[in-house]
Symmetry: C2
Subunit: 319 residues, 2 copies
């Protein structure tokens, strides 16, 4: 018997990734193409749909469902991209309808962070705990909320915007224009900014980051994590601060959602213990114990669940 | 035909309130007795159960359900009061079992804020929007979360602890021992503290609050609201600050829950426009629009839904 296959598509600002995925999360085939958001959305969808058909014929399967994740504010019911700074030419385009015209499959459209969190949920938390909050740490900070085993979208499909919850009144400037958002402290640009500020504040402190910071744009969370591994005091302080901020933001979510698991995904989470230890310390310091005794903090092993999650959600909705 | 009646009981630190309530929320009979948490819980429950029977015989009804709200952390499934600073003698007591021994009715046990929010939801939002976050502003700040028309308890029944979400790292001291909790700014003690601080900071500013603040413990949110009505500049600034903090805390909830309605209950909400105008201003200033365009902020007209909500939840669970 042939295995069931879902096809997931993750349209980001720069790249579009596609994967044919089994229900277990096993990836059978992957493609990556540049996202050309300068061209008309309908033309780009046509190209994607040809690639879906190509994948199907190469694997000799007919996909049971197609999932599409979009980097922006998505009306998942109607399948419309409402607003996306990095895909601005395609705002208000109805992706679901455009796909349905070309592909005779169940189409699921949602925010890319929701898709990634769903992927992490299915693949990494095999026992599917009832209530899971996922936070995806990349350049920006996205999130997804799973309640009673289902992706919770809220009243307009915008739930889980964890990155823009604010942890400090009048705090650090965020890309969104606001101040004090969680993203401004734990998004990759916030972490790099924090490192540059610390280097300036501690001019005498020896640090391998100093030469990196001088070369414009070279400093990344990954390099800061490597420096921390080698004992760099500035790098360690950067993570200690970022982790404390993340811990505070996550503690707020534990208080309102009382989840079983907090799942941390995305590239920044590769920092591992440098990020997670201060988070756990923050959790342990909470006065209101019950929900914190319950919750487990998990770092996802795979950091790129975008199209896998989209494929799995499409399969799940078909089941 | 006789109308269906639920009996709600709200055990607070000082008083216990009981009400016989119709499904519409109409209160047929009310009783208030002092909470004597020095005595054994089982004896107190026996007394309450006698009063339930008394109410039933006076009204010539048999209650369809009994709801119990407790001011603390409640295991609503098992009906245990896990932890309550103001009812500390009764920690870990199984109220559900104690009631079930004496009353042959469906018993629903939950946190008092959840009960109050449920009451406000049924009585004040008659069309029952799907997703509603309620915040109860009293001495402390409690909350309740209604998702898809149902009270959401989270994994241990502790969801909705809005009062202890933090809006400022290292901010004002909260009763819970933490810093920067929403409650520390918009609980009644936080508001009174803020007034006293402002009076100290502005020694030359004329204010009717000054003489009140000198007499110990006389200053209340209600008096500060009355002063604001009369144009007192210190009082107005107190509300402007408290409202901005509440707005920030509520905006965080809008971002993660994407609800239809934010329902504000509790005594402090009597301040009306002094509290709500800065909340709306904060909401309007949010960069991420979709969820904020959707949500409506409602001040409950009735400020004391504790036992009404308990009765209604018991009726709802029976239906």
């Amino acid at each position: 018997m042939q295995t069931k296959v879902g096809i997931g598509i993750d349209i980001g600002g720069t790249f579009t990734k596609m994967a044919a995925v089994e229900p277990s999360g096993k990836v059978l085939r992957e493609i990556q193409i540049p996202t050309n958001s300068g061209q008309e959305a309908s033309r780009f969808v046509r190209r994607i749909c040809s690639l879906v058909h190509l994948m199907e014929s190469e694997l000799d399967v007919s996909a049971a469902g197609v999932g599409l994740g979009l980097a922006g504010d998505v009306d998942s019911e109607r399948g419309i991209l409402r607003f996306a700074p990095s895909l601005s030419g395609w705002n208000n385009f109805n992706f679901k309808r455009a796909f349905a015209r070309r592909i005779d499959r169940a189409i699921v459209v949602d925010n890319d962070a929701n898709m990634a969190v769903w992927g992490g949920y299915v693949v990494e938390l095999k026992r599917r705990p009832a209530n899971v909050i996922g936070v995806a740490l990349g350049t920006g900070v996205g999130g997804g909320v799973i309640l009673q085993g289902k992706l919770y979208g809220g009243s307009t499909g915008s739930a889980g915007e964890i990155g823009h919850t604010r942890i400090e009144r009048g705090g650090a400037r965020c890309r969104c224009g606001g101040r004090g958002c969680l993203e401004a402290y734990v998004g990759s640009y916030g972490i790099v900014r924090s490192a540059k500020e610390l280097l300036k504040k501690w001019p005498g402190k020896k640090s391998g980051l100093r030469s990196l910071a001088a070369g414009s744009g070279k400093l990344t969370p990954q390099l800061i994590a490597q420096a921390a591994d080698k004992g760099d005091p500035v790098a360690r302080e950067v993570w200690s601060r970022a982790g404390a901020c993340l811990g505070l933001g996550l503690a707020n979510l534990v208080l309102v959602f009382n989840p079983d698991v907090l799942l941390i995904l995305g590239g920044v989470s590769r920092a591992g213990k440098w990020l997670i230890d201060p988070v756990l310390k923050e959790m342990a310091a909470q006065p209101f114990r019950t929900p914190f005794k319950r919750v487990t903090v998990r770092l996802a092993k795979n950091h790129n669940f975008g199209c896998v999650g989209a494929a799995l959600l499409a399969l799940d909705r078909r089941a």
